[in-house]
Symmetry: C2
């Protein structure tokens, strides 16, 4: 199989209790590919400006199955985001969002991406663009959508329309509450779950993740970390690792056991991701490191 | 082995989004015994007033190994607490606390309780009283202490003194942060963990529980509940079930596997407890019901 992912390629300036970093390579697509890489290099769809350096290209190329779907607008700058995290990393405030080239994003799924079945990941972007990508992806066997508060509040109708054509959603707990008006996470998941869905993935940050299937629930804690450096992209890293696990397994049967193992694997990959700034958390990490921490995670949480 | 527990027997008036209940039987000792009951009926130490009805006595007697250590102050009323929960059950506000008989609590560990080794549970009461009970319990093989924000803020020195003579502590996440000034739960646990400790148990409510041993961590999510009725006593129910599991197992080796299974069992018992008002959540629940939900919990969380 394969993975096709659409999202943002960006520069991030972030400020945490650990320090400040300026204009690091970031964006949902970057973090997704950086985490998927270990099991399945995704085919990417995105847009960058003329300021995307050869070093940036080298990095993205090394993580991607293909970059044919990445457009360049030479006269524009790339997406830029600046944010500050609270001391406990639980809250973040956006200082600046400059869409730049991203404002003109009109993605096309390259023909070369469509030669075999694939899992489609729609990172957090305008639901109207997400829908365009879905309509160009009849070969996709599983379509998972990410979204955020902004789209839920401002474009609920469009979001609802794209939910009709995907197989599942990945959002965080607060977004699930906002989307449903519920205060209980199980109730929220049930309300989000549409009859045609295969899964609803609810991320709870340091409190772990829950995945709801048609007739099962999976719930896992996070991997206990003494030291977090930068949670930016943790959710996209989780998504990348989760989907790469499903893709590598090659099954179309998303059973409780399959989803549980995918979520455990993704929890561990995301735990490395937040230990460094930007994409550096996974720099130098090997499959062996991931498997070692996965064994530890099983000991910490898997009761027999 | 056996369990000896000291704490409050009380009447609670509570108000949740589900409705209001007046003067239900409550208190830390009541909830502890109600949950421990399935595996090991604890020997209780507490104090009540003349308003403790024969029905109340019948209930407590049915859950206890012995009630010899419960004092009665006929001319006083029993401890009374009134509280209101937020819609999502995450916050609670105390409306009234009347200590009544509890203000004169000066517990004595009955000689009959000390005929064999026991696990000692010190529910959330004045650390000075907790210390008195510890000093009367040389036969105890494991001493676990609960405490709360009030004692951490007002009696830190006394609390610190009793921590020198117990083997572990059970508190919630916010209390751990208050106790240590840390914002990261692993760092907080390490700071709380004294060299002579056997475990530090950090409860996270709907987000599960973590147990820290000398050289291991256990982390479990909560059991997913669609419908919560009354979280009062959830922590004491967890403690009762957790300690009853350790007692029933009869081991003095609190390994990662032992603690993980105890925590999973206690998570499930506590999940029943919050589904009803006061002690009613566990009313009519059988060991078979607990084991069935425990199997379900393993499927939800135990990755292989």
């Amino acid at each position: 199989m394969a993975i096709v992912a659409v999202g943002s390629l960006a520069f991030d300036s972030i400020n945490t209790v650990k320090g400040k970093r300026e204009r690091m390579l970031g964006g949902s697509l970057t973090h997704f590919a950086n985490a998927a890489y270990f099991l399945s290099k995704p085919h990417l769809i995105g847009i960058v400006g003329g300021d995307f350096s050869s070093e940036n290209w080298d990095f993205i190329r090394s993580k991607a199955g293909s970059i044919e779907g990445i457009d360049i607008l030479k006269e524009e700058k790339s997406f830029f985001w600046e944010g500050v995290y609270s001391e406990d990393f639980e809250k973040r405030e956006t200082i600046t969002t400059e869409l730049n080239a991203f404002a003109k994003f009109d993605p096309v799924v390259p023909f070369s991406y469509r030669k075999r079945p694939f899992i489609l990941f729609l990172a957090n972007i305008d639901p109207e663009i997400q829908k365009k990508v879905v309509l160009q992806s009849p070969e996709s066997t599983l379509k998972i959508l990410d979204t955020m508060n902004y789209w839920i509040s401002s474009s609920y109708e469009k979001l609802s329309a794209v939910l009709n054509v995907v197989d599942g959603i990945i959002v965080n707990e607060e977004e699930a509450f906002l989307l449903t008006g519920e205060k209980n996470i199980v109730m929220a998941a049930e309300k989000i779950f549409r009859p045609h869905f295969k899964m609803v993935i609810l991320k709870k940050g340091a409190n772990g993740v829950m995945v709801f299937g048609k007739d099962f629930i999976v719930s896992l804690p996070s991997f206990p970390l003494r030291d977090i450096t930068d949670p930016t992209g943790a959710g996209d890293s989780f998504a990348g690792a989760f989907i790469s696990y499903l893709d590598r397994l090659g099954t179309l049967n998303y059973s409780q056991a399959v989803v549980k193992n995918a979520a455990a694997y993704a929890t561990v990959v995301a735990s490395f991701a937040v230990e460094g700034y930007g994409v550096d958390g996974l720099k130098g990490i090997s499959k062996k490191d991931i498997n070692k921490r996965l064994d530890e995670f099983r000991k910490i949480t898997a009761c027999k």
